[in-house]
């Protein structure tokens, strides 16, 4: 028999809980507030007039392609300041299948050392 009650249960995570339903209600409320605020806006907007033109301090508008902020432009500062990290990472990804196999051997070796030598060390202590 299908009942509504289990659908409204809170999600128990062991040490806390959360309820998606409350969250949904909050999102709907926020959406309504946004719609109401939008309603206060001016209504004289007309399509296909000068109003829709971009205004760049009187400078001419660029081509659409140039106006668009592209994928590699985003987070420029972040990647630039952490360049040493990303350069190292890029260097790691050589795209050479031999290196992929080499990484496998390296991981096997590390796990081997950790599991076997480490265990003997722990045993000695």
């Amino acid at each position: 028999m299908f009942t509504l009650e289990p659908l409204l249960e809170t999600f128990q995570t062991g040490s806390g809980f959360w309820s998606p339903i409350i969250w949904i209600v909050a999102i709907i409320v926020a959406f309504l507030v946004a719609v109401i605020l939008r309603g206060f806006g001016k209504k004289e907007y007309k399509e296909k007039t000068g109003q829709t033109q971009a205004f760049l301090s009187g400078n001419p508008e660029y081509e659409k392609e140039q106006m668009h902020i592209k994928g590699s432009n985003l987070y420029w500062g972040f990647t630039e300041s952490l360049e040493w990290v990303f350069d190292a990472l890029k260097k790691m990804h050589t795209g050479n299948v031999s290196d992929y196999a080499l990484w496998f051997v390296i991981v096997v070796a590390i796990l081997f050392i950790v599991l076997i030598t480490g265990e003997n060390l722990m045993g000695a202590i």
Partner: protein
């Protein structure tokens, strides 16, 4: 078995195969390396089932005595069949790669992504 020669051969085959996969630049040689690893593993399986002085495990016409364990042989046969399929697929992909790049050098076909 004398000095565990089969097991030494297993280790040697696997290590040589890994060496070929990692350090050889020619794709065909890498494929050969993989088949070497495979032979090593197959030899390992077969060796596990072997007992000194044993005969083939044919129950109906057995003259008596120790028989080799048939299960590892069945496993090896399966593994060989799989190996053939993998080998055929790898070589056909190598042919396609050669058509596209005109080379079999692994450093020239890879290259970091954009």
């Amino acid at each position: 078995m004398i000095f565990n020669i089969p097991f030494i051969a297993v280790a040697a085959l696997i290590l040589i195969g890994l060496y070929a996969v990692i350090f050889k630049r020619n794709l065909i040689k890498m494929v050969i390396g993989i088949t070497l690893i495979e032979s090593g593993v197959n030899l390992f399986l077969i060796t596990l089932g072997y007992r000194e002085g044993s005969i083939a495990p044919i129950y109906t016409s057995s003259p008596g005595g120790i028989m080799a364990l048939p299960v590892p042989q069945a496993l090896t046969l399966t593994s060989i069949v799989i190996g053939v399929a993998v080998l055929a697929l790898m070589l056909s992909l190598v042919i396609h790669i050669y058509r596209h790049y005109g080379t079999l050098d692994v450093r020239k076909i890879g290259g970091p992504e954009e």
